[in-house]
Symmetry: C2
Subunit: 251 residues, 2 copies
Amino acid sequence: MARPGTPVRLEWIDPAVCSVDYRLKIIGRVPFFKHLPPPAIADINRRFRDREIQTGQPVYFEGDPAENLYLVALGKIKLIRHTGSGHDVLLDILHGGDYFGSLSLAAGEAYAESALAQTDGCILQISAGDFKTILGRYPDVTLKVLQAVEQRLQESRRIVEQLSTYSVEQRIAAALLRLAGKLGEQRGEGVLIQLPFSRQDLAAMTGTTTETVSRVMSRLAGQGLIKTGRKWVTLVDRGRLEELVEKPAVN
Amino acid sequence: MARPGTPVRLEWIDPAVCSVDYRLKIIGRVPFFKHLPPPAIADINRRFRDREIQTGQPVYFEGDPAENLYLVALGKIKLIRHTGSGHDVLLDILHGGDYFGSLSLAAGEAYAESALAQTDGCILQISAGDFKTILGRYPDVTLKVLQAVEQRLQESRRIVEQLSTYSVEQRIAAALLRLAGKLGEQRGEGVLIQLPFSRQDLAAMTGTTTETVSRVMSRLAGQGLIKTGRKWVTLVDRGRLEELVEKPAVN
DNA sequence: CGACTTTTTGAGTCTAGTCAAAACATGTGG
DNA sequence: CCACATGTTTTGACTAGACTCAAAAAGTCG
């Protein structure tokens, strides 16, 4: 119950972050570009446009024609599917150096999910056509892209597995561990996850409701595994969370 | 309750099915080879080895070093993840012209799931290294492979969405429709799904239990939407099944 | 300080899971 | 061809985890 002051610290958009230097740094961090030598990175950089986005603003909507590939430069982007029943499903949360949008070289496709800015930030954008040109010029990039997509497929299948066999508590613990690994910041007492993201978001990631998320998080906090507040969570006892996930309950 | 005689018809392995002619036909059906001209297909064919498999036999296990890419020539293959709790998760069922195994060009990877023969059949096999050679020789194949993997990713995410938001009944209906689209055979009264596959398999596809699958299927059969027996299902009223899936229940 | 959003808590309900047993099918060997 | 052993499916009774609806509490922001 000891509720510490919120550790939330706002990131301010420095107008310089999408400077050429920063752009080069980000492109050099993307899994399918990072192996390239500086001149190639510089060439690729020239083909991207940058764009600032504000919290809540859409990059594209599910169903829009899939024309662009994006890189996250600064801030967080979430990928969401809207369902008929009003429940949204949160597929992924991305940050600096991640890609999203269309790799798809087939024309006439539509985005299968919406992309929304979770924070203020900056993204780099390239048309599918220009990206194809890059692939033509740097053939090994294509192989790396393939690997990157395969990895996303594996992640997605792991989530299918978890939704199929885990209890809500296990799914929430697993989601927290996953987020911590990807987006967490090391702090003295543990790993802070501060996207910012709400119970709502966590519910949409784990296929449950905000009320249930709240109850489970309270329980975990009571057991000293996490500390939590509005829009942030700190994992205090990672080991015991992992145990929770692995154990099929009491068996 | 009218239980018709089983429409199951055994497929016999014709020793000729993995003849050169059949192999060429299969390779010409694979999404990332089918655009190639006959000489290229013939060249690629030479690099594959064929292999017969019997029902229940594993092609590889989760965790084995991922050394080969496979094509299904004849029969059905299922991809399964084993979980600690003993529940298995059925990720996909594949048939003629589908690929599975490792596309992965990164060395030292392991298979993330097991592949088991659901029926007697025949598969084509190529080492990761040889596949890489093919990609080098036919660059547009790499792009097509990328598209194929993206498509699997989309499918996987659709399943995440369904597990997150659908009731068991909706998930089962959706799974039946998906299987029918992929593997169903048109019959007079409807579409027959006969892999063969059991309540057990359906439960592992939809993240539920055999008992629940049985109850739901009985209900659907009672409403005249399907007919069902041991190891097979016929979709009689596809339209009403689709309605079931789309409706968020009574809202 | 209000107005608003997010989070928590509570009570009641229902879906789906569990455990157990019966019914049914299929294949085998006598 | 029958009787039995085995595996699959169905049914039943009970339970529990998670959802729903509703309202209170706690943060946040102007």
